[in-house]
Symmetry: C2
Subunit: 422 residues, 2 copies
Amino acid sequence: MKKTGNQLEPAAANGLLDRRFFLAGGAGLAALAAGGARAEPLAIPEWTKKPGAWFTAYGQPSKYEAKVGRGAIVEHNPLYESGPGSVRTPLQFLEGMITPNGLHFERSHNGIPDIDPDRHRLLIHGLVKRPLVFTMEDLARYPMTSRISFVECAGNSGALYAKAAAAGTAQALHGLLSCAEWTGVPLALLLDEAGVDPKAQWLLAEGADAASMSRSVPLAKAMDDALVCLYQNGERIRPSNGYPLRLLLPGFQGNMNVKWLHRIKLTAAPTMTKDETSKYSLLLNDGKVAQFKFQLDAKAVITKPSPGFQLKQQGFYEISGLAWSGNGKVAKVEVSADGGKTWAPAALSEPVISKALTRFRIPWHWTGQPAVLQARCTDDTGYTQPARDVLIAARGNRAAYHNNAITSWNIAADGEVKHVYV
Amino acid sequence: MKKTGNQLEPAAANGLLDRRFFLAGGAGLAALAAGGARAEPLAIPEWTKKPGAWFTAYGQPSKYEAKVGRGAIVEHNPLYESGPGSVRTPLQFLEGMITPNGLHFERSHNGIPDIDPDRHRLLIHGLVKRPLVFTMEDLARYPMTSRISFVECAGNSGALYAKAAAAGTAQALHGLLSCAEWTGVPLALLLDEAGVDPKAQWLLAEGADAASMSRSVPLAKAMDDALVCLYQNGERIRPSNGYPLRLLLPGFQGNMNVKWLHRIKLTAAPTMTKDETSKYSLLLNDGKVAQFKFQLDAKAVITKPSPGFQLKQQGFYEISGLAWSGNGKVAKVEVSADGGKTWAPAALSEPVISKALTRFRIPWHWTGQPAVLQARCTDDTGYTQPARDVLIAARGNRAAYHNNAITSWNIAADGEVKHVYV
């Protein structure tokens, strides 16, 4: 970072500053804090004047944060008690990379089952030397692995296929995305114990929900980094995320991380279940289908500022967001404030973990002029996420899944933030 | 790992196996799973036969996990509405390194205040060029930093000073310990903006709770890695952990990470507040006091198995636990199954982060004979936590704080696990 007195040399056009600005002891925050002497000493608030509340066995957020919920609930048909749907993580209200369990996104195909863990079983059968049935108590004795991993729905950001830019927050557009520390038993260990028949190349993973959600998974993935998970962010997985057992396939589209897992059947070929033929296949412009695209490609989303924020004054802002790749680590995130003409590298929050969310940040000086903010992710395979017009030109817009185009947030002169296409 | 047929060469006495056993494709799990063919196909449980529950805005754990709560609540005096106390993280029920927010330990000195964030202020004053007052909205515009960090109460594991080994679970003995991803504004940035007077060497940090909890902090720590935190595991900090604002001093004893933070005063010397004179000072055997011992030294605790577990049969078990140091990274965790005579290195779960909890694991074959399990942590300064008799010999047992002695879990022939001294 070059500094000359109060002069800040830009890292890219329209106010982007060097990511190391603050490491270099940069001032220039333009007095965000109110001047102080008049307020010294502070008035003593009423909550300091009386004893506070007693403890609880399980804590909850402040009542002042009630707005921070999983919104975008699809209205369900009142003729039914339940049904398929999803709720989204409020990315614009969160910070860091971990999603708290209460706000992890959910997608279910026929509601959230109420499973008694003492009666739940995992069966491994099909092309194995000996079928095995595991209780949850059995599994708890197996050696475990922990990893921080994102889960993203294949349909996340699907709105970016629409011909006109949809209005919506980061939550509404990109909130089928969360990240947690998952702990479970490596699936490879369980398969080794069952004894894999050399003819097996795939497996069927099936949930115990009322949709019997099921997907085919290449055996190579199962032997690589798949986990049969019991824990999410330290505690047992919650019902909406698969209690008592879910499959984790790091970097693969969300629905393949089968929740309420109760059956794994080894097979020679994909099973072609309803969940991988009627949906979760990528319809291309020429009418063909890219059926088994599993990995989620590199992507970045700016969460701050994003639609719903109102910039009240010109001056310093931190641009912050999330980046990830289903193919490895985030190698680089670049940010543009002029709709993609010039780019500056953002700082990445450590630790940067393969197939986990990575928080990025870059300082920005808003002059009060209109601006278009974008972020793009490059992963450690060398792949960079495409501009929207490039993705649409290659794939068309008949698809519903795997949209990893660059998102544009327009900052108007009055400080309003809106989703736009550029 | 050397394997000869089904022979497993031990890594240390009494059944400890090489930490890389499973990486080497080790079998030998001794058929933990029930044999399978009789149970194939699985019966269809009732929860698969009807649509499940609909979504909620903020998720909760399964009703079957109600036992997993923050226990060891000190009974409060019914004459008062509230008062000082603490609740502990149920370490024996958790996995990985992240503590979910609902189970983060709590210590408060006069209850949990109900703070309106729009009316909360942070004042920075004292030996500064200009006092500053921050609203929470001001702070939200500052550049932020995220880090995964443990918080441990100075009184954690204090029971190990007692002359006889206390009965109790990992939660009761060591549960004033948690770990989260914290996000906030580097305190150094705010102090730079206020302008530090060269005479300032310390600061007073004060909470807005009814105890006005306050501690003196060396200025060097504030300028190093202190954060003024708004977020915990992605969401706003919860009331019991300091909403809307807490100080994070990575590696320093818990109470110094002042919750409900509303005032920082720069001073030339420690303020000698009630909270650092009447308590949180280390009484030594000779009657002297080690007053300002802030860093929490390296420590490890085996959480699985631990008291409350019952080993039902001989065979394979994974020993798993947590290790940490207030002085840096965990470099090594060693486990003993014979009360400290022989030791084997455990595997450390990545990422290993400075001043964060680190999960360790090692495979163990229990022969059904009595065993004493211990774990000891060495950090990257080269320091190794002491045996209990070594710590007591050096420090006496009049102290109440900073006990980082090695804990011993006795496994009886009937599989019962108990806290013992060896």
